[in-house]
Amino acid sequence: MTDVLDLDALLAEAAGVRTDPSAALTARILADAAAVQPPLANVAAARPRLGLRRWVGDLVAGLGGGRAVAGLSLAGVTGLFLGVVDPAALQSITTLVAGETVLAAQMDLLPATDILWTEN
């Protein structure tokens, strides 16, 4: 047991010996650190966005990213175009849905709810 404790004491003594780097080594290490340190400009670019930009960014992310927002925008613009222009080519689809020849602008696509209010 004494043998083990003596070896432990020797190792503990070694553990207490601090190995200080020379001034030259420290200077070399710090020069390396300065040479490869990322520039502050990158840090500014990585700062969190604030205000309107952040709100817009969160909205775009919530809708599924830039591509999803682009698709939604295109669908919206197309719908608006069809509604305003009312092309003749769509009349056949209107006839198919309505069963008779009516103008698309006159179609009532929402079902009537009067039946829900009548009492038996």
Partner: protein, 203 residues
């Protein structure tokens, strides 16, 4: 950030601060970590100049990894010990075959606060220990130094050496037994009295 505020900041946070352009963080990390890497590398290589090169290279790799460092995933010191271990292993491989290397470079012993004689005796003990460590197989030497001189826990050593905890325990125990056997014949170098049978230093 003021230096006295940084003193209480973890290595992890300091590395993030360094990556964000804080030069004081680099100075503090160097002061904290480079003595540990240098001491470890000196004990593995027994060559101060090579150990200094390893320390500089390991720290350089730390600076380079800083922008990608993921806080909380690993301890900076563990990562650095692992890099230093690999660098030392590569160096030892590359110098294999070269003859006449002096393997006596023990870490310096400071004489402050001690008598010159006591400092000399301690220096002798450290040199004897270094010579004995140099005779151990590489893996045993790494395990013994990390556990008993650097004071790391077995799981941490396992991460550094890519081993399980039981394998670390086994390696450390075998290394320590081998070290004791080597030092048994060097009691005079260690400052122990050969004639005192009741106080054998090591067997």
């Amino acid at each position: 950030m003021p230096r006295d505020t940084l003193d209480e900041v973890s290595d992890d946070t300091l590395l993030v601060l360094y990556a964000n352009g804080d030069a004081a963080a680099a100075r503090l990390l160097t002061a904290r970590l480079s003595p540990r890497v240098l001491g470890y590398a000196t004990r593995l290589l027994a060559d101060r100049a090579e150990a200094e090169d390893v320390t500089q290279e390991a720290m350089l790799r730390l600076w380079r990894i800083a922008p990608q460092w993921r806080s909380g995933e690993a301890q900076v010191s563990t990562w650095l010990y692992r890099v230093a271990t690999n660098l030392c292993t590569d160096l030892k491989r590359s110098r294999r075959g070269r003859a006449g290397l002096a393997l006596d470079d023990a870490p310096d012993v400071a004489a402050s606060g001690e008598s010159a004689l006591a400092a000399l005796m301690q220096a002798d003990r450290m040199t004897a220990l270094q010579r004995a460590l140099s005779q151990l197989p590489d893996r045993q030497r790494q395990a013994v130094v990390l556990r008993h001189i650097e004071g790391l826990a077995n799981p941490q050593i396992g991460q550094i050496m890519d081993l399980g905890v039981e394998a670390v325990e086994s390696l450390t125990a075998r290394g320590k037994r081998a070290l004791a056997a080597i030092l048994a014949g060097r009691k005079a170098d260690l400052g122990y009295d050969d004639d005192d049978d009741d106080r054998e230093a090591v067997r």
